[in-house]
Amino acid sequence: MQHILLIGAGSMATVHAFSYLSLSKIKLVGIVDPNSEKAEPLAQMTGVPAFVTLEEALDKLEQVDIVDVCVPTFLHKEYVLKAALHGKHVICEKPLAGNLADAQEMIDFCNYRKVKLFVAHVVRFFPEYEKVKAHLDSGSIGQVGVVRMSRVGKMPAGHQDWYSNPDLSGGVVMDLSIHDIDFLRWCFGDVERVYAKGLRGREWNTKQLDYGLVTLRFRNGVIAHVEGSWAHEEFVTTFEFAGSEGIVDYDSSKDKPLDLKRRESSEAGGGVFVPLSTVEPNPYARELQHFIECIETGADPRVTAEDGFKAVEVVLAALQSMDSGQPVTLGERE
């Protein structure tokens, strides 16, 4: 039995909390969130105590094996380092960190403390994405030439609006496109070169829209295009993998196993959109279960901490390209 302490009580923490409840041999034991309006309801719904600090939780709880960090990105490092210091394995939401120095420090410290660090790049656990990976591996579409990935929606309304502050969230490419960037790295390996354009820092962009178009050139030759948007109305993900012998595509706005439309559109909350999943267990639960199995068996995880680092590295190269207006070759980054 693994005992989980959840950090944060926002959108993602809620998804993780209910995923834990659905899994066997896993026990959610507490929730840490200084914001009691958030912590209390989630604690009540999940039947576990709420705490204001990690230290308090570790002090009062009988057993904690894993700390799951679901706070805004700029707070990841603080909790990951604290958890490692106390000898707990760590699951950390993506992006691992907003900069590479922090990401490296988190990885190094977890290594030093001999605890595992998992980065929650959950797209690798979405069945539609697993399927496309299987097609690539089986060669059913031949040599892949051009890939198109897209992930669009509204800017989420997070705790104290942290998503809208690029210094805190890193912007749409860091927060959202990183899912697709990580998935592409899983499929094609390392990125050679990045070119990107975005709405960041453009003075006439007064509506807090964020939008990025990123072109990736992989070392294996594949060209990929990644659209990330906080300028759309509806959350939609799409992909298209075009190869010499076939095309695989998917569009969540068309391929809908379940579609719910309330007559009076009474949007709840407005927090980060978490796609309704029709698979059991849901991809988040499958991801968390996989990480916990890796702890128990010592197996290598599907997503390593190094993968988490490299995804951030590609995003930062994209942001650098937006700023410089030039392609950025990885390994030559400033």
Binding site: V146, R148, K197, L213, H232, S244, G246, I247, Q326, P327
Partner: protein
Amino acid sequence: MKIGIISVAHMHAVGYMYVLQGMPNVDIVGIADEDRSRAEPWAKQFNLPLYSSYQELLEQELDAVIVTSENAKHHEHVIAAARAGKHVLCEKPLSTNLEDAQEMIDVCERSGVYLGTAFPVRFSTPVAAAKKAIESGQIGEILAIKGTNHGFIPEGWFTDPALSGGGAVMDHTVHLADLMRWFMETEVKKVYAEYDSRFSDNPIDDCGIVTLEFENGAFATIDCSWSRTKAYPTWGDVTMEIIGTEGILHVDAFGQKINVYSDKVGVKWDPWGDNMDEGLLRNFLDHIGQGKPPLVTGVDGLRATEAALAAYRSFEEKRTVVLR
């Protein structure tokens, strides 16, 4: 109006001839093609005289010619037609280098004839409706555009750089570059591209992503890949996702279709949209008839070609090309 066709190297010639034959007060006078064998079946089908030299065709009584030769021959054919005093509609891309394009424009001007570039997609009904929606301010200021122009891998001279001047980047960047310029009434300022040959063994680029930045500050990407496989239900596309300050506009020029799942013909998209070639030709003929330039001019053709050529240069140099 009397029209001549110079070359059927580009299969659009056939589509144009179908449209022209259905138009009242329009006569196709003949086809000129130095390769008689490829033109003969069409001359027979449309019941037209076939000339082995374009000079011979140009000696006939003509108001205008349509140049549908290999890209690298556009220059020679357009200049000859202009010097013979005929208005010219030239297939895209206008030319394979900028010097040629400029000379074509200059000679047409000096000869007192109009030069049009065949960008039919401007006349696609959904695209024209998008232009109207943008003009009426429905999506506010345009911030960014995500474009695709996919297609099959073409055959014949298209994959011979000496005749085509380039592969997918040349063939497919120009349509969207033109539409984006038209939608925003601004010019391309910066260009970068990643491209390669990954879909066949042809010695030419067959896929890529071109990124553009415009003088109005908007940016865009164009997927120009010849990446449609034989099993794909259609041969190509023109799509744009247009991000504006007040809204988002999605355009699919080939979205007018029904889906067919047939044991006989397979899985296919069967289009029901208007024929955009008809709009293109009608506009060209109406305008030259009224003594004014067509909607899509030679300068439009040059600007789009300029973007495609900059795409090649950017990738060779691995840096952004600044045009203006």
